[in-house]
Amino acid sequence: MEAQGPPQQALPDLTARRSRLLGDSSRRGVVLSTTSTVVVLGVLVAVFLLAPGSAQVRHTFFNPTDMWKALVGDPKAGYYSVAEALWLNIRMFIAAEIGILIVGLVVAVIRQSTGPVLLPLRVVSTIYVDVARGVPLILIIFAIGFGAPALQLTVISDQSAAVYGVAALVISYSAYVSEVYRAGINAVHRSQLAAARSLGLSQWAAMRYVILPQAIRNIIPPLLNDFISLQKDTALVGLLGSIEANKAAELFSDTEFNYSSYVVAAVLFLILTIPLARFTDYLIRRDQARRLAGAGQ
C-alpha cells in the first residue's frame, strides 16, 4: 500500500543537548550542586569568623556560659529563665489561637452573608478588617495594653499585661484569618450551595453543614502559616512588661551585659515553629496527593 500523508523525512535526533559542565550523568549534577552549596555556606562562615570583630561578637552573642545562665535563670541576680518564660508565650499563643479561630470565622461569615438584615454588621466587619489589618500590631498592643487600664473600668482595666497582649493579638490576627476563611468559602464551588439550598436547607444550615467543612479543609495550610507567625509575635507582648521569652532575654542582657540570652530565645522560638512548619508542609503534600488521586476518577 502507498504511504499516506506528507513525505517522510528522517526524524532528527531528539535527545536533549547536555550541558558540558554537568556531563551526561545526573549524579554528577547532584555532586556539583551540593559542592556549590557547601562552598557558599563555607564562605559565609569564614567571613563571620575572620571579621575583625568576630571574637567580640562571638563572646557577646554565643557565649556558652551566658547562654546556659540565661536558659536556667537566676531571680536573685535579677533575671529569669528564658525557657520558663517561653511557657508564657506558649500559653498566650494557644489562648490567642482559639480566639482568632472563632472571631475570624464569625467575621468571615458575616462578610459573606447576603440580605439587608445583616448590612450594618457587614459594614462594621469590613471597617474592622480594614483597620485591624492596616494598623501595625505593635500599635494595637500599645493601644490595648495602655488604653484598657487607663479606662478604669472594673474587670476590663484589671487584667494582666499578658491578657491585654492576647486581646491585641486576637484583634490583629482575626482580621487576616477572616480573609483566609473568606477565600476558603469562595473556593467551594457555587453549585454546592445550590445543591444544599435546593434540598431546603437554610442559608445558615448550608453554610454550616456543606460549605464550611469543605472550606476549612482547604485553608488549613494557610491558617497554620498564620499561626507560625503568631507564635513569634507573642514576643511583642513583652513590650507591655510580661516576662515572656524575649523580655526574659532582655532582662538578662540588662543585668549581665551579654546578648547570648537573645540567641537562646531565638533558638527556643525555632524549636517551637519548625515542627509546625514541617506539619504544614506535610498537610500540603497530603492534600496534593489526594487531589491527584481524586482527578484520576
Binding site: 454546592q192 445550590a194 435546593s198 434540598l199 436547607l201 444550615a205 467543612p213 479543609r217
Partner: protein, 258 residues
C-alpha cells in the same frame, strides 16, 4: 404565612407556570413561559443548549428569582412575596447535570442530611429512609463510600436518591445524563423510568430524545426563551408543526441521536 399565599381554586395541576420571564443582565433567557403540569405527568423539555431549559427548572425551584410571571405548586402561588423558599424546596426535588454531591460526606450522609436538618427526622428514621431508597436503586453497598469513589452514574443515582429522600411532590431533572459516559447513561435512565412508572410528577430537561419519546407524556420544545411547541412525543417527533422544531429535530437526526 399561609394567608399570604394565594389560593388558586379549581386547579388539580401539580405545577402551573404563567408568563414567566427571566433575564440575566440584558439577555432575556425566558420570555414568557406558560406551562401546566398535571399530577403524575412527565414533561420533557427539549431544545438547543442555551434555550433556557435549565433556567426554567431553577426558577421553579426558586434558585433563580423571576422577573415576571407566576408559578403555582399544587395550587399555591410560590412566587409571591413572603413565601418561604425553604418550605417550597422541601416539596420540589431538583437533580443537576453535575451531580453536586457533598464530597466530604458519605453517600448515606448525603442522603440523610436534609431529612434530618430540614424535616427534623431522627437519625434512625433518616437512615432507614436512605437505606430503603439506596436499596431500591442498587446502591446498597455504596452507603459508606465517599462520592469520589463512585462512578458518574452511581453519583447521579445517589443525587436522585438524595432528592427523593425529601419525598417531593415534584422532581426537576436538569440534563441529568449529559455529564455521563455513554455506558453509564442507561442506569440513570432506568431510575427515572422507574420513578415515572411510580407516578412521580416530573419536569425533565434532556438531550436524550429516545428517552423523551418513551417516558414523556408531553414534550415541550424550547427556543428563543419560548415554548415553541408542545405535544405528546409521538406527534412532536413525527409531525412537528413549527419550522424551528423541524430544524432542531433534523439536526438531532443527522447527528444520529434520534
Amino acid at each position: 404565612m399561609t394567608n399570604q399565599i394565594s389560593e388558586r381554586t379549581g386547579s388539580a395541576d401539580a405545577l402551573v407556570i404563567e408568563g414567566l420571564r427571566k433575564s440575566f443582565g440584558a439577555q432575556e433567557v425566558l420570555g414568557g413561559i406558560d406551562l401546566a403540569v398535571a399530577q403524575h405527568e412527565v414533561i420533557c423539555l427539549i431544545g438547543a443548549s442555551g434555550s433556557g431549559k435549565s433556567t426554567l427548572l431553577r426558577c421553579v425551584n426558586l434558585l433563580e428569582r423571576i422577573d415576571a410571571g407566576s408559578v403555582w405548586l399544587d395550587g399555591q402561588l410560590i412566587t409571591a412575596p413572603g413565601v418561604d423558599e425553604n418550605l417550597v424546596r422541601r416539596h420540589v426535588g431538583i437533580v443537576f447535570q453535575s451531580f453536586n454531591l457533598f464530597p466530604h460526606m458519605t453517600v448515606e450522609r448525603n442522603v440523610t442530611l436534609a431529612p434530618m436538618k430540614v424535616l427534623g427526622l431522627s437519625r434512625d428514621e433518616a437512615v432507614a429512609r436512605a437505606a430503603e431508597l439506596l436499596g431500591r436503586f442498587g446502591l446498597d453497598e455504596k452507603r459508606a463510600d465517599y462520592p469520589d469513589r463512585l462512578s458518574g452514574g452511581q453519583q447521579q443515582r445517589v443525587a436522585i436518591v438524595r432528592a427523593l429522600a425529601m419525598r417531593p411532590r415534584l422532581m426537576l431533572l436538569d440534563e441529568v445524563t449529559s455529564a455521563l459516559d455513554p455506558e453509564l447513561v442507561a442506569d440513570v435512565l432506568d431510575v427515572i423510568r422507574e420513578l415515572a412508572e411510580g407516578g412521580m410528577t416530573m419536569l425533565i430537561a434532556t438531550h436524550e430524545m429516545g428517552f423523551a419519546r418513551e417516558v414523556a407524556s408531553r414534550v415541550c420544545f424550547l427556543a428563543d426563551g419560548q415554548i415553541v411547541e408542545q405535544a405528546p412525543p409521538a406527534r412532536l417527533f413525527s409531525e412537528p408543526s413549527d419550522e424551528r422544531t423541524r430544524r432542531f429535530l433534523r439536526r438531532i437526526t443527522d447527528a444520529g441521536r434520534l
